[in-house]
């Protein structure tokens, strides 16, 4: 479904992503592990089209993503829920969600159905539908960001460090919802996490990014046993 070959991304003069290749099939739930500064966010921004790589190819269902602007990539069904959430702070929860449904605008029935599903995942969003997004706590903002990303019915969802800066309770709740999204909604999920413990427990397999290179990959069970992964990301 998503295939990267020898992707190289530069920011300013820095060579951040170096020869990364990966492949994700429809329906999979895959983790991208790596420490702070390993290049996870840069890799996701490259896939979503915000950054254009200097070399390599990225295809999504056979379509060359490098030719498409960001909004066309979203229309193709690949949606990034970005780090820092990138919400609209002075718009209400409802309008934030409505803008998430921009790719299916005009289809009121589908939008209503998706809205109900998002509210079922995160009941707090329904309670606070008229509140401004900027007044939310970090955890609530993350729920809204995930909800907004779901509104456009992505075929593949990239989640960039949804657990960042959140309390363990909220991380657990968000982890459960992401699993549900993958299972119930048949959405392919690519989850970037520094919190390897959470990620390895819910995903099927993972890639490990180190200094912009894809060092290690494999099923989660195998990664959990790997000495290097344990030392670096699990702390055991």
């Amino acid at each position: 479904m998503l295939r990267l070959e020898q992707v190289n991304t530069h920011i300013g003069g820095l060579h951040i992503i170096q020869d990364v290749s990966l492949n994700i099939e429809k329906g999979e739930f895959v983790a991208l592990l790596g420490s702070n500064g390993a290049g996870k966010t840069t890799l996701f921004r490259t896939i979503a089209g915000v950054l254009k790589p200097r070399a390599g190819t990225i295809t999504f269902n056979g379509v060359d993503l490098l030719r498409l602007p960001v909004h066309k990539i979203v229309e193709a069904g690949l949606v990034l829920c970005p780090q820092g959430r990138q919400l609209y702070p002075e718009l209400t929860v409802y309008k934030n969600l409505l803008l998430g449904a921009f790719p299916i605008r005009g289809d009121k029935k589908r939008i209503q159905k998706n809205l109900e599903r998002v509210y079922a995942f995160f009941p707090i969003l329904q309670e606070r539908t008229n509140q401004l997004a900027g007044t939310f706590s970090g955890g609530e903002q993350q729920m809204l960001a995930i909800g907004r990303a779901l509104m456009g019915e992505p075929r593949m969802l990239l989640l960039d460090e949804p657990s960042m800066g959140l309390a363990p309770m909220i991380v657990k709740q968000i982890g459960e919802v992401i699993s549900d999204i993958n299972r119930e909604m048949d959405t392919t999920v690519f989850l970037s996490e520094q919190n390897a413990n959470m990620a390895l427990n819910i995903t099927d397999r993972g890639y490990v990014l180190e200094s912009g290179r894809c060092g290690l990959e494999g099923p989660c069970e195998q990664l959990k046993k790997d000495e290097k992964v344990r030392k670096a990301y699990i702390g055991a």
Binding site: V79, Y88, P89, L91, L99
Partner: protein
């Protein structure tokens, strides 16, 4: 008392024009995060385009106004595409310089085509009457009522339609909007169309009362810029209230002190406000 009411009436009329021009400027500023210094010059050109349709083509006032909105709106879209969009990822100073270049081009263009002297748009509603001792004309009332209608329509568009909401979305988080599948270039173009189109309305309403000249763009552009800072960068209510505020200060100052000092009084008051409230009346923290 009659002098006071007369000056308040005139102040509201000038304020209506300032509010609309500042509103257009603040909309674009919200999207681009840089001031479109050429906005006052677009306003000036809006007056000339209306003049052209009325006097050169012999069209009526309202068809000319409508055509002026469309022509100036398209000009704004072209300006965004060739002047501002290529500079989007560059340092802001580059866009500042480009904006100054654009306003010089617009002013020179108006001067070459229509000459430096003032021209008069035939007043469609010159009829005057007295009300509470105030001398009013239908055209002056049109300036005031037209501004209110325009502000209400714009508010409804921004708050109640999805397309309008995308303008607010791009202003609040450009990258977030891209990742929601919004074509931010199209939103920028639309914003420029609305901004330029409303400037054409403001110019076409008030121009039949006074004269139009190529130099009028610079002064109203500067005033609009100050109103936007006064009202708080990117704040729509701030631009509206700031516009009426400046119109009233100018008019009352001009009426009670001296018409020759009206700009001095208006700008002096702004300096005093800024020294007490540097973020502007409705300034946001980051502003």
């Amino acid at each position: 008392m009659e002098l006071f009411l007369q000056q308040v009436f005139n102040g509201i009329m000038f304020g209506s024009t300032y509010a609309i021009v500042a509103l257009g400027l603040t909309l674009v500023m919200g999207i681009l995060h840089i001031p479109n210094f050429a906005h006052g010059h677009l306003y000036m050109l809006g007056g000339y385009i209306t003049y052209f349709f009325i006097t050169s083509l012999g069209l009526g006032y309202w068809p000319s106004l409508l055509l002026s909105i469309i022509v100036l709106g398209i000009l704004g879209v072209i300006m965004e595409a060739i002047v501002y969009r290529p500079l989007h990822d560059q340092p802001h100073i580059n866009a500042f310089i480009a904006a100054v270049g654009a306003l010089l081009v617009l002013e020179a263009m108006a001067e070459v085509i229509w000459g430096p002297q003032g021209l008069r748009i035939p007043n469609p509603y010159p009829h005057t009457f007295q009300f509470l001792g105030i001398i009013m004309s239908v055209q002056r009332l049109l300036v005031i009522i037209g501004a209110v209608v325009l502000i209400v329509l714009l508010h409804l568009f921004l708050k109640k339609t999805l397309t309008g909401t995308t303008i607010e979305a791009v202003a609040q988080n450009r990258e977030g909007a891209m990742l929601n599948g919004i074509n931010v270039n199209r939103v920028s173009a639309l914003t420029f169309f609305i901004s330029s189109g409303t400037a054409a309305v403001a110019a076409s309403f008030i121009s039949p009362i006074f004269v139009i000249s190529p130099a009028m763009g610079a002064i109203i552009g500067m005033k609009a810029f100050i109103i936007v800072i006064l009202g708080g960068m990117g704040s729509i209510p701030g631009a509206i209230i700031g516009g009426y505020f400046l119109g009233l200060i100018e008019s009352l100052g001009g009426g009670y002190v001296s018409a020759a000092y009206k700009d001095v009084i208006a700008f002096g008051a702004l300096i005093v406000i800024f020294s007490f409230k540097p973020t502007g009346l409705f300034g946001k923290k980051e502003g």
